[in-house]
C-alpha cells in the first residue's frame, strides 16, 4: 500500500509563485503541501535577471503590468528588504535608438505613476561610470535588484514554520479523477523512484513553463508558448544601478547588479519544450554585441556564467514573445468542470506576491475560508539558511570565519564548511538528501570564477567526512554538479574563462578520470 499524504491544498511547483502561495495560504491557516520535481527555483524563478521592476520597462507595451510592478515593488521593498538592494535604475538610449520612443518615455512613466527623472550625462556617468559616453538620453527610475533564491527560501521557510510541507525532487505523474474533479495526485520521488499519493481538497499548479503539462494530466488544454531567455554573469559588478536600454524590448538590453556581479540579458528564442535548454554560442555573442552598445565594457569583460530560463506565456499570438502581455494567468478550471483545480502561471518575479495573493483568494473562496491575505503588510522573516545565496554574501559576513576550525570550502565565494553544514541540516529537515546540487542551489558554492573546479571536490570530501554522502554516491553527485555548472559555461569559454575550465578538466578528467565512471 503506497503512502498517501492528506492536505487541504497541494501546490505543484517550488518557484517564486509556489513558495509565495505556500506562505500566503499558511498565513491564512490553511494546510499546504508543496511538491517540486526538482528543487526551489529550478525553473524561470531561478533563471532571470533578479530585477525588481519599477514598471518602466512596460510603460509602452502594457501600462497595466507597469502599474502592477510599481505597486508590488513598493510592497516588496517594505516586507522583504533583506532580499532587495535598492539600486535605482537607468534607462539609457544610444545613437541610433528610436528618438520618438525616447521622447515619449517620461510622459509614459508619468501616466503609469512611475517616478522618472532625466539625468544629464555628467550625473549619469557619476551614477554609472561604465555607461557609453555617447549616450543620448538617460532617465532614472526606481528599479531594484532582488535575490530570487533568498526570496523562495524565506517564503518556504516561513510557510514550513506554520506547518506547510515542502517535498523536493517529487514529480506529479498523474491525477486520479473523480466526479468532482481531481481525487488524488500520484507522485514519484525522482531520486528513489518511490511512488506515493497526495490527496487534497484543492490542487494548484504553479509550475510555470510546465503548467501545460500538469494541466494536460487533468485533461485540460492550456495553449502555452515557451520563450527562452539567456543571460550572462560578469566576473565583477559593473555598475551600482540597474541599466536598461531605452528602446522597445530587445536582446541584451538589461544589466542588473546581483551582489558583487552583474547580469546582462536577455534573448528571446521560441523553444518547443522547456526542458534541456542551455544558452548557445550565438545567444552569448548576441547579448554581448548588443549590451556593449550601452555599456562598452561588456565587450571586454570576463564572463563567469551563462544561464537561461523559459518565459511561460499563455498565448498563441505571433510576433515577439516579449510583446505578449507579461501579466499573469490565473485559471480556474472550474470553468472546464474541474472545480478543485487552479493554474497560476506566466507573470513576473516582481509580481509573484500579487499572483500568490490572487490565487490564494481563489483557493479560499473554494474552501470557504474568509481569512484575508496578510502578505501585503507582514514582513518576511529572515531565514538563517537563506543567507548564502547572494553573490558576495560572505562579504556581508565581513569575511569572518566564526571559528578557526571552520574549513573554507569555496574560496572564490568564501563559503565555509559551517555554511555547508547548516544548509545540509536544513535540506535534511525537509526530508531531502543533501548533495552538491542542493547545496549549490542554496549557496554561492561553485559560482565564482573557478566554477566548481576545486570547491566541488573539497565539498564532497567534507560531506563524506560528515557522513552526509556514502558509498560511491559522491562520484555521481559530483558528475551531476559539474555537468550542471557546465550548462552555463560552455557557451562563453574563451580567454581566461577557457583557461579556468581547462583546469577543471585537468582535475576531474585528467586526474580523477570521472568521465570513465558510469553516471
Amino acid at each position: 500500500m503506497k503512502k498517501t499524504i492528506e492536505t487541504q491544498v497541494l501546490i505543484i511547483g517550488g518557484g517564486a509563485t509556489g513558495t509565495g502561495l505556500a506562505r500566503d495560504l499558511s498565513l491564512r491557516g490553511i494546510d499546504v503541501v508543496l511538491v517540486e520535481k526538482g528543487d526551489l527555483n529550478d525553473g524561470a524563478s531561478g533563471a532571470n535577471h533578479g530585477l525588481l521592476h519599477s514598471g518602466a520597462r512596460y510603460v509602452y507595451s502594457d501600462v497595466e503590468a507597469a502599474m502592477e510592478c510599481r505597486s508590488e515593488g513598493m510592497i516588496l521593498k517594505q516586507i522583504c528588504p533583506q532580499c532587495i538592494e535598492e539600486t535605482s535604475g537607468l534607462f539609457v538610449a544610444v545613437p541610433g535608438d528610436d528618438e520618438a520612443y525616447i521622447a515619449d518615455f517620461p510622459e509614459m512613466c508619468r501616466k503609469a505613476k512611475i517616478p522618472c527623472r532625466k539625468l544629464d550625462m555628467d550625473a549619469a556617468l557619476e551614477k554609472a561610470p561604465c555607461l557609453a559616453p555617447d549616450a543620448i538620453a538617460v532617465y532614472e527610475v526606481p528599479d531594484a535588484a532582488i535575490d530570487p533564491f533568498k526570496l523562495a527560501i524565506e517564503n518556504m521557510t516561513q510557510a514550513r514554520g506554520l506547518g506547510a510541507q515542502y517535498i523536493s525532487h517529487s514529480q506529479v505523474l498523474g491525477f486520479k479523477m473523480d466526479k468532482s474533479g481531481i481525487g488524488l495526485a500520484r507522485i514519484k520521488d525522482t531520486r528513489t523512484r518511490d511512488e506515493f499519493s497526495i490527496r487534497a481538497q484543492i490542487y494548484v499548479s504553479a509550475s510555470g513553463a510546465w503548467a501545460g503539462g500538469v494541466a494536460a494530466m487533468a485533461g485540460i488544454d492550456i495553449p502555452m508558448v515557451f520563450s527562452k531567455g539567456s543571460l550572462l554573469v560578469t566576473g565583477q559588478r559593473l555598475a551600482k544601478p540597474v541599466i536598461n536600454r531605452l528602446r522597445k524590448a530587445s536582446d541584451g538590453d538589461i544589466l542588473v547588479p546581483g551582489g558583487i556581479v552583474s547580469i546582462i540579458g536577455t534573448t528571446s528564442v521560441r523553444v518547443d519544450c522547456p526542458d534541456r535548454i542551455f544558452p548557445t554560442v550565438g545567444e552569448v555573442d548576441l547579448i554581448i554585441n548588443q549590451g556593449r552598445q550601452m555599456v562598452p565594457d561588456l565587450g571586454v569583460r570576463r564572463y563567469i556564467r551563462a544561464y537561461c530560463g523559459v518565459r511561460p506565456l499563455v498565448s498563441s499570438k505571433d510576433g515577439d514573445d516579449r510583446t505578449v502581455t507579461r501579466g499573469f494567468a490565473l485559471l480556474d478550471h472550474g470553468e472546464e468542470g474541474i472545480h478543485n483545480f487552479i493554474t497560476i502561471t506566466s507573470g513576473k518575479l516582481t509580481t509573484y506576491r500579487l499572483m500568490a495573493e490572487k490565487t490564494a483568494d481563489l483557493v479560499c473562496g473554494k474552501l470557504k475560508v474568509s481569512e484575508p491575505c496578510k502578505t501585503g503588510k507582514l514582513p518576511l522573516p529572515m531565514a538563517e539558511t537563506g543567507d548564502w545565496t547572494a553573490p558576495g554574501a560572505s562579504l556581508r559576513h565581513g569575511f569572518r570565519l566564526p571559528d578557526r576550525n571552520d574549513k573554507m570550502i569555496c574560496e572564490c565565494e568564501m563559503v565555509p564548511a559551517s555554511a555547508i553544514d547548516a544548509i545540509a541540516a536544513d535540506v535534511c529537515r525537509h526530508r531531502g538528501r543533501p548533495d552538491l546540487l542542493s547545496i549549490g542551489l542554496r549557496s554561492r558554492m561553485g559560482k565564482g570564477p573557478c566554477q566548481g573546479s576545486t570547491c566541488s571536490a573539497r565539498a564532497l570530501a567534507h560531506l563524506y567526512d560528515t557522513g552526509e554522502i556514502r558509498g560511491r554516491d559522491g562520484i555521481r553527485d559530483l558528475t551531476r554538479f559539474l555537468n550542471e555548472r557546465w550548462k552555463g559555461e560552455h557557451s562563453l569559454l574563451w580567454g581566461d574563462s577557457l583557461a579556468q575550465s581547462s583546469l577543471k578538466e585537468m582535475i576531474h578528467c585528467g586526474l580523477f578520470c570521472l568521465e570513465m565512471e558510469d553516471e
Binding site: 542551455f278 548557445t280 554560442v281 550565438g282 555573442d285 554581448i288 578557526r404 576550525n405 571552520d406 574549513k407 573554507m408 570550502i409 576545486t454 571536490a457 573539497r458 564532497l460 570530501a461 567534507h462 563524506y464 567526512d465 557522513g467 554522502i469 556514502r470 558509498g471 560511491r472 559522491g474 562520484i475 559530483l478 558528475t479 559539474l482 555537468n483 555548472r485 557546465w486 550548462k487 559555461e489 560552455h490 569559454l493 574563451w494 580567454g495 577557457l498 583557461a499 579556468q500 581547462s502 583546469l503 578538466e505 585537468m506 582535475i507 578528467c509 585528467g510 586526474l511 580523477f512 578520470c513 570521472l514 568521465e515 570513465m516 565512471e517 558510469d518 553516471e519
Partner: protein, 450 residues
C-alpha cells in the same frame, strides 16, 4: 650528469649575458613538463640552453606520468598496453606526436626522464613482472582509479592488478588537510580491496585548511612523523597496506615513506589529489636541480615575446616585471602549453598562438569547441586543437611547410592530443621534447651551418 653526450666536432658556445643580452644555442620557451625535459635533454647533450617560463606550473601535475591510458576517447576501460593501439592512433591522427615519433622513441624518452629524475632523488616506478612495460593503475583522492605509465615510487605500493588488490587497505587522512577524506577514498575503493578502513589522524600544530606544501614540509619533521606513527600503530595490524594523502615530505619523499613503512611494518603509498600537488612540486624541484646540474639556465617567471628571425638566429624579448632583455638563440623549442599555460589563447572568435602567431589547427567556429556535456565521452573538439608539425616537430605554415628550420614545438600545445581524456600528457610532452631537441642536435651535427 656529465658531458659525455656532447657530440664530436660540436663546441658549445659560451653563454654570455651582457649589455647585448643573452646568447644561447637553444631557447626553450615554457618550463612545464615538455620545457623541462627539452632543457635537460639539450643540456646533457652539451647544448648551451636557456629555459624560460614558469616552473610553478608543474604543481598542477599529479606527478603520475602517462603514456596512453585510454584509446579511443570514449572507451570505458583503461589500456593495459599502450603499444597495442599505437598503430590505430597513428591511422586516426597521423599528426599526433606518437604517430610522428613511434613507440621506441617514446620508451627512450621515458627512460631518459626516469634516469634523470632518479639521479635527482625522485625515483619513479614502472609496471614490473612482465617483459613489456604496461600501464599501472593507482587510486586517487576522489576514490576513483587512474592509469599511469610511470608513477612516483611513493605511489607504487598502492598499484592495483586488474583493478583490484586482495588486501585490507587502511586509508589515512590528516585533520586540517582540506579536500582529502579517508571516508571518501575508503568507500570509493571498497569494491577494489578485500576491505577498506578509514582513519583520520590529528597531527600537532597542523591548522585547519593547512596548505599542502606546509603540511608536506612539516611531515619532514621527525616529531610529526612520530605523532603519525603512534596513531597508525594501533590500526596497522588490521591492515595489509596503508594509503596516505600525497603530502609525505617535499625533499626526500622516498626516504620518508620508506622510514614510515619500516616503523609500521606495512607497505605505505601516497594517493594523489588536486593541486597544489606535492608530487608536482617535487617534480618541479627535481627538474630545477637537473637543469642547475647541467649548466642550463632557467629564467623563471618571464614572458617571451616579439620573436624576430634574421635568417640565422632568433632574437626574442624576455620581459621580467619591470625590465626586459634580448635573447638570441639558434633554435627555439616552443613548449608553452595550452590555454591554462597561455601557450594558446582563445579569442571570442578563434584560437591563436601568441608568441610566433603560428597556425593553430582548430574547429571552424566557437560553437564547435565544446560539447554541451562536460563529461562527453569523446572529449571536446577544442582539446584536439593545437600546433601541427612535421616529423621533426617543426610547426607548419598554412602550406604545410616548416615555418622556420629550427623552430620546434613540444608538449600539450601540439594538436590532436586530448591528453585529459587519453591520459597521454606526459608521454606527449616527453617524446616531443626529446625528438625536437634530438632533431636540432642532428641538424647541427649535419653541419648545416648553425
Amino acid at each position: 650528469m656529465n658531458n659525455s653526450h656532447v657530440q664530436p666536432g660540436f663546441t658549445s658556445s659560451c653563454a654570455q649575458q651582457n649589455m647585448e643580452g643573452i646568447h644561447c644555442d637553444l631557447l626553450v620557451i615554457g618550463a612545464g613538463m615538455a620545457g623541462m625535459v627539452a632543457g635537460a635533454r639539450a643540456a646533457v647533450n652539451g647544448l648551451d640552453v636557456v629555459v624560460a617560463g614558469n616552473p610553478s606550473s608543474l604543481v598542477f601535475s599529479s606527478g603520475i606520468m602517462d603514456y596512453l591510458g585510454v584509446y579511443p576517447a570514449g572507451s570505458k576501460a583503461f589500456l593495459d598496453d599502450p603499444e597495442e593501439v599505437l598503430d590505430r592512433l597513428a591511422r586516426d591522427f597521423p599528426n599526433h606526436a606518437y604517430a610522428l615519433a613511434g613507440h621506441d622513441k617514446i620508451l627512450d624518452g621515458f627512460g631518459f626522464v626516469k634516469t634523470m629524475l632518479e639521479d635527482a632523488g625522485l625515483p619513479y616506478t614502472q609496471h614490473s613482472g612482465a617483459a613489456i612495460v604496461k600501464n599501472m593503475v593507482v587510486a586517487t583522492a576522489m576514490g576513483t582509479i587512474r592509469p599511469g605509465f610511470m608513477v612516483p615510487e611513493t605511489m607504487a605500493a598502492g598499484a592495483l592488478e586488474n583493478g583490484e588488490q586482495k588486501t585490507t587497505l587502511l586509508v589515512v587522512s590528516i585533520k586540517g588537510l582540506n579536500g582529502f577524506s579517508a571516508a571518501q577514498v575508503a568507500q570509493g575503493l571498497a569494491s577494489r580491496f578485500a576491505r577498506t578502513i578509514p582513519l583520520e589522524v590529528e597531527l600537532p600544530g597542523i591548522p585547519t585548511g593547512v596548505p599542502p606544501q606546509i603540511l608536506a614540509g612539516r611531515l619532514e619533521d621527525v616529531k610529526i612523523q612520530d605523532a603519525l606513527i603512534s596513531q597508525l600503530l594501533s590500526h596497522a595490524p588490521k591492515a595489509d597496506i596503508i594509503g596516505l594523502p600525497a603530502v609525505c615530505g617535499i625533499e626526500d619523499s622516498p626516504g620518508i615513506m620508506a622510514g614510515l613503512a619500516a616503523r609500521v611494518n606495512r607497505p605505505l603509498f601516497e594517493i594523489p589529489g588536486p593541486s597544489p600537488s606535492i608530487p608536482g612540486l617535487r617534480l618541479k624541484n627535481a627538474f630545477e636541480n637537473v637543469l642547475a646540474g647541467t649548466g642550463a639556465r632557467l629564467l623563471s617567471n618571464i614572458r617571451i615575446k616579439a620573436p624576430v628571425f634574421d635568417g640565422k638566429r632568433f632574437t626574442l624579448t624576455a620581459e621580467f616585471d619591470t625590465e626586459s632583455v634580448q635573447i638570441r638563440a639558434k633554435g627555439v623549442v616552443l613548449a608553452t602549453g595550452r590555454f591554462f599555460g597561455k601557450g594558446l589563447h582563445a579569442r571570442r572568435e578563434r584560437i591563436v598562438e601568441p608568441v610566433f602567431h603560428l597556425d593553430v589547427a582548430q574547429p571552424t567556429g566557437r560553437h564547435l569547441w565544446h560539447d554541451n556535456r562536460f563529461f562527453t565521452p569523446k572529449g571536446h573538439a577544442i582539446n584536439r586543437a593545437g600546433i601541427e608539425t612535421d616529423g621533426l616537430f617543426r610547426p607548419l605554415d598554412e602550406r604545410g611547410r616548416p615555418v622556420y628550420t629550427h623552430l620546434y614545438a613540444a608538449g600539450s600545445i601540439l594538436a590532436h592530443n586530448d591528453w585529459a581524456r587519453l591520459k597521454s600528457g606526459s608521454g606527449t610532452a616527453i617524446v616531443s621534447a626529446c625528438s625536437a631537441v634530438d632533431a636540432f642536435i642532428e641538424a647541427r651535427g649535419g653541419g648545416d651551418g648553425i
